[in-house]
């Protein structure tokens, strides 16, 4: 029987230089799933995504994608392999136009980018506002439009796995709703999504399962519904502490101090 998991991370250790960030991360994302990764700043969420695509080298453990060990992949190969990262901060080509950014998204597909025009149409169908901005440089877009362009650029590579790093960062609630609304459409198109998000409520509402990361390891996992019902998660990430347990200095109290 084939492995239902499209992505499987096993005992992953990684870090920057001599500073370790990930201490044995285990997680998997099944085909067609939307999985959310939550956790405090510095827990290693972004580092995990950056390690999966090869910006950060794994020092121990394995990353298996679609049955192949890709632990030593480099980013320019990962996208060819079918993994597209929408990075934190978007990393668009600011001085280049919206259309050029999207064309660059299809760069990895090389000669078989014949379906390029229809892919552009697909992105415009998802984010109609980009259609009116094709000739504008990416740096002139609003934050929400930039995020849409970053996702559109990633989709142009026709990935099977989409990694989204903090797509809601700095955006208005209405724009966040629009962006998360597209996740369902993408899933119907056969995409698998691993999402890192600080807006835990929105993220869990739009995903099937979730993992909670704490200081470089997975602290908790479960279906999104279970996690949303969990007291720890509610307390720390869902703002329940606002009403219940705000510490004297405005920081949330930890689980033990409840």
């Amino acid at each position: 029987m084939p492995d239902p998991a499209l992505l499987r991370v096993e005992g992953l250790h990684a870090g920057y230089g001599r500073v370790p960030v990930l201490h044995g991360v285990d997680l998997h994302v099944d085909r067609g799933e939307i999985v959310t990764l939550v956790g405090a700043n510095g827990a290693g969420k972004s580092t995990l995504l950056r390690t999966i695509v090869g910006f950060v080298r794994a020092s121990q453990g394995r990353i298996v994608f679609d049955g192949d060990d890709i632990s030593r992949i480099v980013p320019e190969r990962a996208v060819r392999r079918g993994i597209a990262l929408v990075p934190e901060g978007r990393m668009l080509f600011g001085p280049l136009t919206v259309e050029e950014n999207l064309r660059l998204g299809a760069f990895a597909r090389g000669r078989e980018s014949a379906g390029h025009g229809s892919d552009l149409e697909g992105v415009f169908a998802l984010f109609p506002v980009l259609r009116d901005r094709t000739g504008q440089t990416a740096s002139t877009l609003s934050g929400g439009e930039q995020q849409m362009l970053a996702i559109g650029r990633a989709l142009m590579s026709r990935p099977s796995l989409l990694l989204l790093d903090e797509p809601s960062l700095g955006l208005a609630p209405k724009v966040i709703a629009e962006i998360f609304g597209t996740l369902g459409v993408l899933r119907e198109q056969g995409l698998t999504v691993l999402l890192v998000e600080q807006d835990v409520k929105v993220a869990l509402r739009h995903s099937d399962r979730g993992y909670v990361m704490r200081t470089g390891t997975i602290a908790m996992t479960g279906t999104s519904a279970d996690l949303m019902a969990d007291d720890d998660v509610r307390l720390i990430y869902l703002g329940a502490w606002h009403e219940a347990a705000l510490g004297g200095d405005g920081t949330p109290m930890t689980g033990d101090a409840r």
Binding site: V53, P75, E76, R77, F93, E100, F107
Partner: protein, 293 residues
């Protein structure tokens, strides 16, 4: 000074300016894709002229073959410089890489001295014949070649950057290596192509001007300085600014020779370089800030 004389100085200025423009372009495209200044750029110019003379005299190739052969050989050298001298140290700070290019420049110069000898040499003009008279000023036929080849190089570069996938990858790499790798661009290869292209521009300048001024193993440093000054004048920005910087520098030199003294002609480039660095570091056409996303 008569109008014809002034025109004569202007023509000389635009001729040197075209050469400076090609060298400045070499500096600019390498800077854009790597963030480093390649001080071996002048050696590409030297190699263009010297290899052409060597191919003509030693190998006995016809001029028509010696000229493109010299450009091709230099392109190979440019790619090798990137691959062997710079790529192994790509993770180092820009200053380290810049110092490596200075070392490469010295190496290429002493290799050229060993291979081609210490003497000054010259190429015959690409087309023989008397100068053309233009409103009382004389234009050597080779000067027309310099302008023509510069124009062709600019056109090819423009088509490459705006109409091809490689050009788009080069522009993307100039914005950000990480973003480029994310969409699947092999940035190491793009950087190598950029060095090869910069070498082609330098060699083209060297081979086009070799019939007008003699060339030797040690001409690289001087032209490298001129081209660097022109590139700084253009703000190390786009290709158009680099070409404008080259032409402005050539004209400034030539007209200062006309009105002040030709003794100080070479010092002009340095004065211009220092003035731009002190007064307007973003270059003549530079904006105050850099765009960012």
């Amino acid at each position: 000074m008569g109008a014809a004389q002034l025109l004569q100085f202007t023509i000389a200025g635009l001729k040197n300016g075209a050469i400076y423009a090609l060298i400045a372009l070499g500096f600019t495209i390498v800077y854009a894709s790597t963030g480093i200044l390649n001080f071996a750029q002048g050696e590409f110019y030297m190699l263009g002229g010297m290899v052409a003379v060597w191919a003509l005299r030693t190998l006995g190739l016809p001029l028509l073959a010696a000229v493109p052969a010299a450009v091709l050989v230099t392109v190979g050298v440019g790619a090798l410089v990137e691959r062997l001298a710079l790529r192994p140290r790509r993770a180092e700070a820009p200053l380290v890489l810049i110092i490596i290019t200075i070392g490469v420049s010295m190496l290429l110069q002493s290799l050229a001295r060993h291979l081609f000898g210490p003497n000054e040499v010259a190429l015959p003009p690409f087309t023989a014949g008397p100068s053309i008279t233009f409103f009382g000023a004389a234009i050597e036929r080779q000067t027309l070649w310099v302008w023509g080849l510069t124009a062709v190089a600019l056109l090819v570069l423009w088509v490459l950057y705006t109409r091809t996938k490689l050009g788009l990858a080069m522009r993307a790499t100039a914005v950000s290596h990480d973003s480029s790798r994310l969409v699947g661009i092999d940035t190491a290869r793009v950087v190598m192509v950029t060095f090869a292209l910069a070498a082609a521009l330098g060699a083209l300048a060297g081979v086009a001007v070799a019939p007008l001024t003699q060339t030797a193993y040690d001409v690289g440093a001087r032209i490298g300085l001129k081209g660097f000054a022109a590139a700084i004048l253009g703000g190390l920005g786009g290709p158009v600014a680099a070409v404008a910087g080259g032409l402005v520098l050539g004209l400034t030199e030539s007209l200062s020779a006309a009105f002040i003294s030709s003794t100080y002609k070479d010092a002009i480039a340095l004065v211009v370089l220092l003035a731009v660095i002190f007064l307007k570091p973003s270059g003549l056409f530079g904006r105050a800030g850099r765009e960012k996303v």
